[in-house]
Symmetry: C2
Subunit: 260 residues, 2 copies
């Protein structure tokens, strides 16, 4: 019975995709976990970031999400990767239309959850990469999830995005997913040389929402971007890079924080 | 008769808002231009970034966009800032609903353009800050614009976003705004230490779309983020910072590139 982790942040470019892909790879490679990544972003960045390692096959997530019978399982459309035990949903150019197509559907926020019911028995961990907004796809991710991980950068605009996300979590938690847990906020792209603004943002987050910032942070490390240029996960591309070390550390830390 | 510049990029966090706000401030402060910034992003980051400098008053853009009569002008809802000659649309929590509200409207892509027809006679330059997607608000920006500026980071995912944007530009240019011009792609958050991947991305962009990368780039400079934490534009906050210098340079360069 998989733990389903939504990786969500309203702010653009804070490392949702990089974090999703890196954690998935670390758990599959180093912890013997069977992992599925569901790409909920119409920009299909998960498979773009891993494009040299993606298997062929699988089917479009959009078809599943707009199927009126809602009987398709994500397991039927996913594909494999070069990393044993790491699976992903393939790129789907129609995912944008799917969001519109779902707009008028009764119970539209529950479609993904239903489509993971049987799928989740096949994996240890399922990660959901969300787009930079609180639209129908992200909400489906939050409703389907057991817990939420929130990447954030040390910036005013990112912190304001956390606020928007937490308000959405309250709404979702209240009505649609009462057991939704918060893994925490992981600071990403941290510039070691900007201690003052890093501290200012940490204090701002702490004073607004308490002790939600995770102890492991991910520093700015261009190797993470280079790995995506090469279309490989960070551990295949540069396993001794600082980015790889920190994501390995985060992966190990988070396993102990999963809701029981 | 203002030049209307849409600042658009499908990728999140590439500096659309930072670029919009910095260029607007530079043109108002140093070039004697009367500038209006229209915040098309439901996250209202323009006024968040400038929050210590925003005047009171103005009205909600969402009301204008969903008004069936489509007779309101943006000029009626904008507000002033501490910078003389710099005006902005105030924060609007209903902008997200507006995008849904516009979905079924005939001619929904043309609403903003109409609402700027008289407004544009009051300004030298109007900037449109777009959200990180190609939805109705961004398309309204592209249809209303005379020219488009595309911030991009030196990353695979950002380059893939340029592709999505250019395809949208073709669609918009074909049917709704044939005279739409491209100012160019401005590389932002450039890390001076990562020459190899910077060059790799520049080559990738050039081979895909030709000579669209602008000569001025904006380096990674945390002072730009600190200015936003302080709620001030970069020139009020740290006028001799590298970020300020480069945005001043970009502002001067772009003035010569406006379509006649
Ligand atoms: N720790 C890091 N160090 C350096 N670069 C990073 C780091 N994390 C992410 N990046 C780069 O920053 C860019 C944004 O990261 P990413 O795409 O993962 O963010 P995102 O939140 O998923 O963005 P979006 O909102 O567009 O989905 C990417 O080009 C990525 O390679
Ligand atoms: N040149 C730069 N140097 C350092 N930080 C920067 C730079 N440009 C932008 N930033 C910071 O990076 C973050 C993302 O920038 P910004 O919000 O302007 O991007 P955006 O494209 O508008 O994002 P979104 O897609 O969420 O609208 C902000 O916190 C901003 O302060
Ligand atoms: Mg992403
Ligand atoms: Mg923005």
């Amino acid at each position: 019975q998989a733990t389903i982790v939504a990786v969500a942040a309203q702010k653009g470019g804070v490392g949702k995709t990089t974090t999703t892909v890196s954690l998935a790879s670390a758990w599959a490679r180093y912890h013997g976990k069977r992992v599925l990544v569901v790409d909920l972003d119409p920009q299909n960045h998960v498979t773009l970031a891993l494009r040299e390692q993606i298997g062929i096959g699988g089917g479009p997530l959009s078809e599943l999400l707009t199927d009126p019978a809602n009987t398709l399982e994500v397991e039927e459309i996913r594909t494999g990767t070069e990393v044993p035990e790491l699976y992903v949903t393939p790129p789907d150019p129609d995912l944008l239309n799917a969001e519109d197509g779902m707009a008028h559907r009764i119970g539209k926020e529950l479609v993904l959850r239903k489509a993971l019911e049987i799928t989740r028995t096949h994996y240890d961990i399922i990660l959901l990469d969300c787009p930079p907004n609180m639209g129908t796809l992200t909400v489906n991710g939050l409703v389907a999830a057991d817990t939420v991980l929130v990447p954030a950068q040390a910036s005013m605009l990112a912190v304001s995005g956390i606020d928007g996300l937490f308000r959405t979590l309250d709404e979702v938690g209240g009505q649609l997913n009462p057991s939704l847990d918060l893994l925490g906020v992981v600071l990403t792209r941290v510039d070691g040389r900007t201690r003052k603004s890093n501290e200012a943002v940490r204090d701002l987050v702490k004073s607004s929402w308490g002790d939600v910032v995770l102890p492991v942070h991910i520093g700015a490390n261009d190797t993470l971007a280079q790995a995506q240029l090469a279309g490989r996960d960070i551990f295949g591309f540069a396993p001794s890079s600082r980015g790889a070390q920190q994501y390995r550390e985060l992966a190990a830390d988070l396993l102990d924080r999963f809701p029981k």
